[in-house]
């Protein structure tokens, strides 16, 4: 028996004004899978992540996370109605996100950034949250920066804090929205190392939007090429990168890998 996918997009439509960004998108991710989404800008890659993280709603279709609809809930008679904030709040606990601009809280120390949500949202005691936070800082290699403020850290360090902050909530699914695109080239490596370590050592489901093709190739179980709101082509990294079947995929890879 094949397992239910942990993420399922079923004919999902998303519009921004007159622009249809996702047009009846079908997309699935299995539990523990590491999926990378590549494609030109405007293709809808980030939108998929933002919809999952409940930062954007949908205009059609159904998104399912962990077997339950995300942006809908089941009414007593079994039909689907738009989700309430309470339902979104419940569903959101399965997901975590790492942002392109890090989005750390500037008025909190590194440690506080990581512990604030566990305390306020999960109800951990400050002590428990601090222990968890210190472990995570160890994991991302920033154990000695706990009392610094974000503006005192480099971009690479800030992003690693961002990863720790998301992990502190123990999500089942971790979303990475172009995590290294805002970094100076020499800082990209340290962040990719952490992401790579996560991919290897944990059975987290990971969904990564990135331009770092070599990295995508290394860590992914599957790569999806998005173009104009639909999946043009998908497959294992070897398949997609060495021998793409679609012309459009070939075009894109040539432009990017040169």
């Amino acid at each position: 028996m094949t397992e239910e996918p942990i993420i399922k997009f079923d004919k999902v439509v998303k519009r921004f004004g007159d622009l249809t960004v996702l047009n009846k998108l079908d997309f699935e991710v299995k539990k523990g899978e590491k999926v990378t989404i590549i494609g030109p800008s405007g293709s809808g890659k980030s939108t998929v992540l933002r919809i999952l993280m409940t930062l954007e709603g949908i205009d059609g279709g159904v998104v399912t996370v962990g077997g339950e609809p995300l942006w809908h809930e089941r009414a007593p008679d079994g039909s689907l109605v738009p989700a309430s904030e309470a339902h979104l709040h419940k569903m959101r606990s399965q997901l975590g996100m790492v942002f392109q601009q890090f989005n750390l809280f500037p008025h909190m120390t590194v440690l506080r950034n990581i512990t604030e949500a566990p305390v306020k949202v999960l109800g951990l005691s400050r002590k428990e949250a601090r222990e968890r936070g210190e472990e995570l800082l160890e994991l991302v290699g920033l154990a000695d920066q706990a009392q610094k403020y974000p503006h005192q850290l480099s971009g690479g360090q800030q992003q690693r804090v961002g990863i720790a902050r998301a992990l502190a909530m123990r999500p089942n699914i971790l979303l990475f929205d172009e995590p290294t695109s805002a970094l100076d080239p020499e800082l990209v490596g340290e962040v990719l190392n952490v992401i790579g370590k996560l991919a290897e050592e944990h059975d987290l489901t990971m969904l990564l939007v990135t331009h770092e093709m070599r990295f995508a190739r290394e860590i992914s179980d599957r790569v999806c090429f998005f173009d104009r709101g639909r999946i043009r082509e998908e497959g294992s990294p070897e398949e997609l990168f060495t021998d793409p079947t679609e012309d459009r995929t070939r075009e894109f890879l040539q432009a990017v890998l040169d």
């Binding site: 959101r92 601009q101 989005n103 500037p106 604030e116 949500a117 503006h151």
Partner: protein, 223 residues
């Protein structure tokens, strides 16, 4: 009379002015946050009340508001059988507080809206409730933005306290007027009055700048 003899009553008046400023500023700050946040509420009733409060108290003259509370409110009270006569000090603090609260509310609203969308998204991703986001993420970052405007409003409030002398409240201006009526020594008295207000304003500005610097510790990471 020698000008130094004016000092004791003026100092008494100055003390009243200081107290008025403090009480009305505190009242104003509370109202500013309440209605500034209220104006951003998704509950349309709260929003409507906040907008109405802000528009009415910003859109009418402070002296009109003061006179209304002192002269007109009691009559309205009589019509419905409630004793709404306010002692001058209550009418004064209330009028000043309501007035500065309305201006402050717009400052609070603007500062809250200036907090970057990214911060709100990060908070939502971490599953903070909207209220948790407001108090733990938005407001700490909004407060440094508010301070410069609050500093100006505080000095404005200090100047506005002079108007309470017109409802016979014994503040600095009232005392000065009493002395002037007695001695007809306008030049000296009014010069002293102006200098005293100037001095108080400078002290107040200094305090607000110190507060601004203290709060700016939070405003650390604007990249």
């Amino acid at each position: 009379m020698h000008w130094t003899q004016y000092l004791p009553p003026l100092i008494e008046g100055a003390w009243v002015t200081v107290q008025l400023t403090i009480y009305s500023t505190i009242l104003g700050a509370v109202l500013a946050f309440a209605f500034g946040i209220g104006k951003l509420s998704s509950n349309w009733a709260i929003k409507a009340v906040s907008v109405a409060y802000i528009e009415v108290f910003r859109g009418t003259s402070l002296l009109v508001q003061l006179f209304w509370l002192y002269f007109a409110l009691p009559l309205a009270g009589m019509a419905i059988g409630v004793d709404l006569r306010l002692p001058p000090v209550v009418a004064g603090v209330l009028a000043l507080g309501l007035n500065i609260g309305a201006y402050g509310a717009e400052v609070v609203r603007g500062a809250i809206q200036s907090v970057h969308q990214d911060q709100l998204e990060a908070a939502r991703a971490l599953n903070f409730t909207p209220r948790q986001t407001l108090w733990n993420v938005t407001i700490p970052q909004a407060v440094p933005e508010m301070m410069p405007s609050f500093g100006n409003l505080a000095v404005q409030n200090l100047k506005d306290t002079a108007l309470v002398s017109l409802i016979s409240l014994g503040d600095l201006t009232f005392r000065a007027e009493q002395i002037r009526n007695f001695t007809q020594d306008s030049t000296t008295i009014y010069s002293m009055l102006l200098v005293t207000y100037f001095g108080m304003a400078l002290v107040l500005t200094g305090l607000m700048r110190a507060l601004e610097a203290y709060v700016s510790r939070w405003r650390t990471a604007r990249s």
